[in-house]
């Protein structure tokens, strides 16, 4: 067993079936989302009242909903919309959180304390309610949903960026840059922020499943994306009507797809975090 002597990062990583499965699910889902408009175009307004609530069969793999639309087909497009909204909203949250964290860390003192207190307090509020309020006042639309997620999900990113900057600030290379006559802005943009970027990217990725859940919740309540648009939340909401007449597949399939993809995304991001910083492995933060 000679390879036991090698440092961890040089050893071949052990094969993990869960991680492999998550990669397959995620790559498959993203590929399907990208290829869907080319191979299997969807007409959002198409309705076929002759084929409503058909049970799953070879022709309709996941059955049809109460307007005769193919559930599998719409789920695929719903996933596309939900992932896109989730990713954009996570980036918005990362930008807000990154800015707040950077300002807090570089200004320090009273500004830092005040900003962090604000972060602590907002973190203690039910963010779904705040999100509902934002969407309700701006009227439900794509932009309102993205804003609602972005404005309620930036807190953890702000904390991470601030902590990272504060710990980097004490490193010798920063002293060297300052001694070399670099301005504050230059130290920040050329020396500190590049080191924060991997952590920020990881935080953003971990945020995507949360953003997707928030979007589906808003859409489910009728406060999210326009109802005719195939999004996972809208579909689960539509399926609620068919459920009472026995068509359980209309809600089940988009929900299962949502669970599979967000679980895979969270598992891979968690693995990434473990490799980036083994110390926080015990933290439960799916």
């Amino acid at each position: 067993m000679t390879d036991l002597a090698l440092p961890a990062r040089l050893r071949r990583p052990a094969f993990r079936p869960g991680i492999a499965l998550a990669s397959v699910v995620l790559v498959g889902a993203v590929a399907a989302c990208l290829a869907a408009p080319l191979l299997w175009p969807l007409d959002e307004s198409a309705v076929d009242l002759a084929r409503i609530r058909l049970a799953p069969s070879w022709e309709h793999l996941a059955g049809t909903d109460d307007l005769g639309r193919d559930v599998a087909h719409r789920s695929l497009y719903g996933l596309r919309v939900s992932l896109l909204v989730g990713a954009v909203a996570a980036v918005v949250a990362a930008v807000v959180g990154g800015l707040v964290g950077t300002v807090a860390a570089t200004c320090g003192g009273r500004v830092d304390r005040a900003l962090m207190r604000v972060v602590d307090t907002i973190a203690a509020l039910p963010h779904l309610l705040l999100g509902i309020f934002i969407v309700a006042m701006l009227r439900p639309s794509l932009g309102a949903v993205v804003l609602s997620i972005g404005l309620t999900h930036w807190l953890s990113t702000a904390r991470i960026v601030r902590a990272e900057l504060l710990s980097l600030r004490t490193r010798p290379f920063v002293d060297a840059a300052v001694a070399g006559g670099a301005s504050r802005a230059r130290v920040l943009t050329r020396h500190l922020l590049p080191h924060v970027l991997p952590r920020l990217a990881l935080a953003t990725t971990l945020m995507v499943p949360h953003a997707v859940w928030h979007e589906t919740a808003l859409s489910f309540l009728g406060l999210g994306l326009p109802p005719h648009l195939a999004s996972l939340g809208n579909m689960i909401n539509d399926g609620q009507r068919s459920l009472l007449t026995g068509a359980w597949w209309a809600s089940l399939v988009p929900g299962l797809l949502l669970v599979a993809v967000t679980l895979a995304l969270a598992a891979l991001a968690g693995r990434w975090r473990d490799r980036l910083d083994p110390r926080v492995r015990a933290e439960l933060h799916l």
Binding site: L125, L128, I132, F133, M137, Q240, L284
Partner: protein, 338 residues
């Protein structure tokens, strides 16, 4: 000095700093509440909803422009924003929460009629999730790595990624529609004339369980990890060495040390529970605050929406403060006055 007197005086000393903590928390909470209310008001003012047309409803199409202007003037909707804000906050502080435009009744009446059901739902779900997670998490920690532990953890990760409303629909499909054991929604039977406790309890079984299950993963995994850690502590080893039975060591010694950090988790997870309650109430058509909030949001009803959001904020902040005080009362190492 008797033992009880000694205990009570020790507890009093422990809570000596409580007043200062409350004051310090208020100094943060009041500006935050003020900022939240300003933010909400600005959003409400920026919103494209015209309260006068909303008030008139369908009649807005036939109401003359002068009448609408009269309504706006009566309500002061066209006043400068700071004036409107001051009036709104002044009314809130005097206990006048305004007029709900979506339900056509005073906001206070809506809150009074609905808040109880939401508290019942959240309280019952919290009690259930606490009991279940303490039991299951401790058992999983006891046989760490065993089949029960692995199944529980896999289940927890899976449930964590399931949206609570989807879980609710699945529960309705299985237990209400397929098996017919429990009602699919509502608070009472359609034929019922009043709210009978037994009838209400039967209707609350599914919503409470769904809400508890959806929140359970965080609690179960947390209990499992902390108990697993404290099982390795010296005092647990000592208890084992004294020959105490396994059950006593597990629940009396290991779980006991793990309980304190658990309190903090309960405090930080309360907002999630409230968010879950909003969705569960909508799925099961319960007449709680959450369902009303969603209706208000759909109808662009600013007074009601602002009131429910602010009220929930106050409740959650208070609960967090209480958690901290409880922590200090329970743990002699935590000093509130420093």
């Amino acid at each position: 000095m008797t033992a009880t007197a000694a205990t009570s005086s020790r507890r009093r000393r422990r809570l000596a700093g409580a007043g200062a903590v409350v004051r310090r928390r208020l100094m943060v909470a009041v500006p935050v509440l003020a900022a939240t209310s300003v933010g909400m008001f600005v959003l409400g003012a920026a919103s494209p909803i015209d309260p006068a047309q909303q008030y008139a409803g369908a009649a807005a199409f036939t109401t003359s422009e002068e009448n609408l202007a009269q309504i706006r003037a009566n309500w002061g909707v066209d006043d400068p924003l700071p004036v409107q804000y001051a009036r709104w906050v002044g009314n809130l502080l005097r206990g006048d929460l305004g007029w709900s435009t979506s339900r056509h009744e005073p906001v206070t009446d809506v809150l009074a009629a609905r808040a109880g059901w939401t508290l019942l739902l959240v309280g019952a779900a919290l009690a259930l999730v606490l009991a279940a997670s303490l039991l299951l998490g401790t058992l999983a920690a006891y046989r760490r790595g065993g089949w029960f532990d692995r199944t529980l953890r896999a289940g927890a990760y899976a449930v964590q990624s399931m949206p609570v409303f989807w879980l609710g629909l699945a529960a309705i499909a299985v237990f209400a529609l397929a098996l017919g054991w429990l009602p699919a929604g509502g608070l009472t039977d359609v034929t019922a004339t009043g709210t009978h406790p037994a009838d209400v309890a039967r209707h609350l079984v599914l919503p409470v369980t769904v809400l508890a299950v959806s929140q359970a993963p965080w609690f179960v995994l947390f209990v499992r990890d902390t108990v697993a850690e404290s099982l390795r502590d010296d005092h647990v080893l000592a208890a084992r060495a004294r020959g105490l039975p396994g059950r006593t060591v597990l629940f009396g010694h290991a779980l006991r040390t793990a309980l304190l950090p658990f309190l903090t988790l309960v405090g930080t997870h309360l907002p999630e529970l409230v968010g879950g309650a909003v969705l569960v109430e909508t799925v099961f058509s319960l007449p709680g605050l959450g369902a009303v909030t969603v209706q208000a949001a759909l109808g662009g009803d600013f007074p009601l929406l602002a009131a429910t959001t602010l009220a929930t904020t106050v409740v959650v902040l208070t609960a967090n403060l209480l958690t901290d005080l409880a922590y200090a009362a329970a743990d002699p190492r935590v000093r509130l006055d420093d």
